[in-house]
Symmetry: C2
Subunit: 223 residues, 2 copies
DNA sequence: GTGCCTGAGACGTCGGATGTCTTGCACGAC
DNA sequence: GTCGTGCAAGACATCCGACGTCTCAGGCAC
């Protein structure tokens, strides 16, 4: 194994074993390189790789630190990876989202706060009845993110956030080519929100499924 | 933005835009560095970071290539990230798995081949009635992976593969501390397999839920 | 035709030099 | 005494050039 890969594993080991805790500062590059037995150049490759996936946080002029290691932060790297997927796998991502999002919405039904419900309502009201496609899709993302956050599971939330990225483009195409898509989306959002307000997990789940399935069906028919 | 980060973005852009396709070979380091306007060292940091998440594949003495970009390959990086999570978030991972795995099992019910069913049967038979805990957990992983592969969604499959890692340890603890866990697991596996053979998606889903929920419940009670 | 050998090409690693940024401290004005 | 400015140290950012190691292809011997 290359020395850089060894260094990656060793740093990973230090964190997993607890020798380095979230927020801790690493020894300076030259020291750490000497400790691990490699050059500073090679060590930097390892550090850079770990910082790309949000394990380390390097601050020029200051030092290198272990991040909080929150699921949210680490799964952020997921969206970077997901960006690379080509359009022919969008359907698979969408299928996964169709599994997760209704479940998250159902979970949210029993946990969402009045405050959050009002915030979602305001958000939908503000959008009006005839938004642009871009506005609608942005609102769509925000709406679902708000609900999923209320599921209380940060891993689930981050995962959906990462998966939603690649389907965003698909939703924009749909809005541009399918005429009733906008009004249908608005209607479905209202229905989901109403179900949440009723604390009706089953209804919320069903509406969420319908909501995503309609995108999926459209996409499947156009590919 | 640092030159290395710029390089990462530029390489990413070349791939996403299609200028570089899966399997393509990159210009040699010195050339690419010159093209992108940075030193070879800095470029190498970018390449190393992208190879950690399986975007690039560097082969010493040969060259640097774009990987296949399969969902399977890219989500493999997920397990690397997941390794960093501390035990207090295992429950959240397990909750996500409890959503995905039953859904995947249900999908498999209508698609799984006779051949695959027989393979799973053999696998369970080979394990016998009194396996060691380690054997059981290894078999458990293999069993579920086989089923999820039959769901026909490679994104789903890779995602579950990545999520299953951190819960593995939990399952081992359980096997060691809860006496009837082994026999119960064996029984549940048989039940899932029987449901699949009957092409009964609903039953398969329910058994899969029960299967995971029992681990989850035990874990929740011991933390 | 087969197999070994060799050389070119490309990545792997290293050491050092210089630039840039952050931070903390000391000094001086108010 | 307090606040603000300026300097200096520490740490990361970037670069250059050199040498080691590995892979692969082509030539040569059998």
């Amino acid at each position: 194994m290359a020395v850089t890969d060894e260094a990656i594993e060793k740093i990973k080991g230090m964190i997993v074993s607890g020798a380095l805790r979230p927020g801790d500062r690493l020894p300076k590059e030259s020291e750490l390189a000497a400790d691990l037995g490699l050059s500073r150049n090679s060590l930097r490759e390892a550090v850079r790789a770990l910082s790309l996936i949000r394990i380390l946080d390097v601050r020029q002029g200051d030092g290198t630190y272990v991040t909080s290691l929150d699921p949210q932060l680490l799964l952020e790297a997921l969206s970077f990876v997901v960006d690379f997927h080509r359009d022919d796998t969008v359907l698979e991502f969408l299928a996964v989202r169709r599994i997760l999002e209704p479940a998250a919405t159902a979970m949210a039904a029993s946990r969402i706060s009045e405050q959050q419900l009002n915030a979602l309502t305001n958000q939908l009201d503000k959008l009006g009845n005839d938004p642009s496609v871009e506005e609608l899709v942005a609102c769509d993302l925000e709406f679902h993110r708000g609900i999923v956050q209320s599921s209380g599971n940060s891993v689930l939330c981050s995962l959906l956030d990462g998966l939603s990225g690649p389907t965003t483009r698909a939703r924009i195409w749909r809005g541009l080519t399918q005429e009733d898509a906008v009004s249908r989306t608005l209607h479905e959002h209202r229905a989901i929100l109403a179900a949440l307000r009723d604390r009706d997990a089953e209804a919320a789940k069903s509406w969420a499924t319908v909501h995503i399935a309609s995108v999926e069906q459209w996409l499947r028919s156009t590919l």
